[in-house]
Amino acid sequence: MFAIITVVGVDMVGIIAKVSAILADRGVNIASISQTILDEYFTMMMRVDLSGLKVPRAALKEDLEKAGEEIGVKVTLIHEEVLQAMHRI
């Protein structure tokens, strides 16, 4: 069960550390990670495996969004199946 986490905002030290600490603490494994500059914004994308998730998915989503707000970036969590449906036939 995979999901995609995106982090968009102004680049700064510790963004990846902050997000990955939350993930590690909740049993989420990072399968792949990439970062790029898209529309002048720092954009990080992670493909994560939620099969070992120790908290409800809603709680994970909330924690990530809260952490993002603290450092001024926008964090979103999308189920991989949604992207699969939209972008792959």
Binding site: I4, T6, V8, S32, S34, T36, L38, D39, T43, M45, R47, P56, R57, A58, K61, K74, T76, L77, I78, H79, E80, E81, V82, L83, A85, M86, H87
Partner: protein
């Protein structure tokens, strides 16, 4: 990464900025086996069946919303037209049935329940007549029950007796809910060529040709289409149509995912995806703004009908391939009070009921959520219904009328309903009388199906 950054960002923006959501997951439930010669027994069966079948509907909607990160705005229920279910009871008033539906819907926690309905395109049975006479009180005295009446079809023509009654019923219902601007009328739709699997309110019912139960999903994504067109200023219509098609495809695929997931989790067969672009009063969720994006100063300007025809067709073309079963109304909705861009156009005097009528020839549904003066005669309301039904019957499409004669209000007065229903200005109606026309009654015969020119 399996997906490109562009793809991921496109999806993120659809949800976060462009208000893409599932408007409704609607569970259709057949109540045909609830009929009984005792009204009390029938109502007990109805309550039991709805609360049993839809017990987990709201919870499953929330589960999917959280797990997939897709907002689901409403969960709803549609049932067999109540005239068919209640008829065997022999009762002379069906208000109690509406109360039972209201109670059952509230018990399971859905937002709306549709199906306080009758299909009378060719004529009325005893049960149909009882339902019609119960409509004003039933909808005024319940909260989340919606009703609809199909008064015409391409095969049967237009039942002008029913059309006349509907004008009176709408006026009566408005008077009973006068304190709230006639809001009761927002829960009543008059149809021509009604579809049996529509998930949208107020016209949803579970048609007699449907299975025992089905999950039907309605989408909402005007904001996504508008954003997609924003990058195309000055581009030709070939490009505009292509872009709308591709975007509609993506949106519908998401609806398909949710529909199958809901169907699997509830153990109820998947029915259809309704591809309609349903606006909400929120800024950025408007069909009118899509037409403006195509180059019109305001919706209502010359060119509006052509723009809407293109939009409606491109949405269908993109969506049909994305879903295994498309149904319902499937097209662009043009309600007035529920669409921020329509409201602005109406307020500026850019939009008339006559222009809206023309636009309904090429899109989904019809004259929807339009506030008209409270002193509009019932015969005029009926005549507007007859015009709209004629468009549907002749063009082999669904049309509908949901007019709100706001008691005591005059053209230009503003009425606010709040929530998804929005609010807007009272629009002027022609002062010319149709009294003699409506008084005739009888049936307008079905149109000829060949020699189509």
């Amino acid at each position: 990464m399996i997906f490109t950054p562009f793809e991921i960002q496109e999806t993120v923006r659809m949800f976060s900025m462009q208000k893409l959501d599932i408007r409704t997951v609607t569970m259709g439930i057949s109540l045909r086996d609830c009929a009984s010669s005792s009204g009390e027994e029938a109502r007990r069966r109805i309550y039991d069946k709805i609360t049993r079948r839809a017990e987990r509907l709201v919870a499953v909607g929330r589960e999917i919303e959280t797990e997939f990160g897709i907002p689901i705005i409403n969960t709803r229920i549609s049932v067999t037209p109540i005239a068919m279910v209640a008829e065997a009871s022999g009762e002379s008033d069906y208000v109690e049935f509406a109360r039972t539906l209201d109670k059952a819907a509230k018990t399971v926690g859905v937002n709306f329940l549709g199906g306080f309905s009758a299909l009378v395109q060719k004529g009325c049975t005893k049960g149909d007549l009882t339902l019609l006479s119960s409509l004003p009180r039933a909808l005024a005295e319940t909260d989340i029950v919606c009703g609809s009446v199909n008064v015409a079809s391409t095969q049967a023509g237009i039942n002008m007796d029913a059309v006349r009654r509907m004008g009176e019923i709408i006026k009566d219902l408005a008077a009973r809910t006068a304190a709230a601007g006639g809001i009761g009328c927002a829960k009543l739709v008059v149809f021509a060529n009604a579809v049996e699997d529509n998930p949208f309110m107020a016209g949803a019912f579970h048609g007699p040709g449907e299975a025992e139960s089905a999950i039907n999903v309605g989408l909402s994504g005007p904001g996504v289409i508008k954003s997609a067109l924003e990058g195309l200023s000055g581009a030709s219509f070939d490009e505009v149509a292509e872009t709308i098609k591709k975007t509609a495809f993506k949106i519908t695929r998401m609806g398909e995912l949710v529909a199958h997931e809901a169907s699997r989790r509830l153990g109820v067969p998947f029915g259809i995806i309704d591809l309609s672009l349903a606006p909400t009063p929120a800024v950025g969720d408007s069909v009118a703004r899509i037409l403006q994006e195509m180059g019109l100063e305001h919706v209502g300007a010359p060119g509006s009908t052509a723009a809407l025809a293109l939009l409606n067709d491109a949405v269908k073309k993109g969506g049909i391939m994305a879903s295994s079963h498309v149904g319902g109304l499937s097209g662009a909705f043009i309600p007035v009070t529920e669409d921020e861009g329509m409201v602005e156009a109406a307020q500026r005097g850019c939009l008339s009921i006559e222009k809206l009528e023309a636009m309904t020839c090429v899109c989904s549904v019809g004259l929807d959520m339009i506030l008209i003066p409270g002193d509009t005669p019932a015969s005029t309301v009926s005549a507007i219904i007859a015009d709209e039904a004629a468009i549907g019957v002749t063009n082999h499409k669904t049309t509908a009328v949901r007019l709100i004669p706001a008691p005591g209000r005059r053209p230009g007065d503003r009425v606010e309903f709040g929530g998804l229903l929005g609010g807007g200005p009272v629009m002027a109606v022609s002062p010319l009388s149709a009294e003699g026309f409506i008084a005739r009654g009888g049936r307008i015969p079905a149109p000829v199906h060949s020699f189509r020119n």
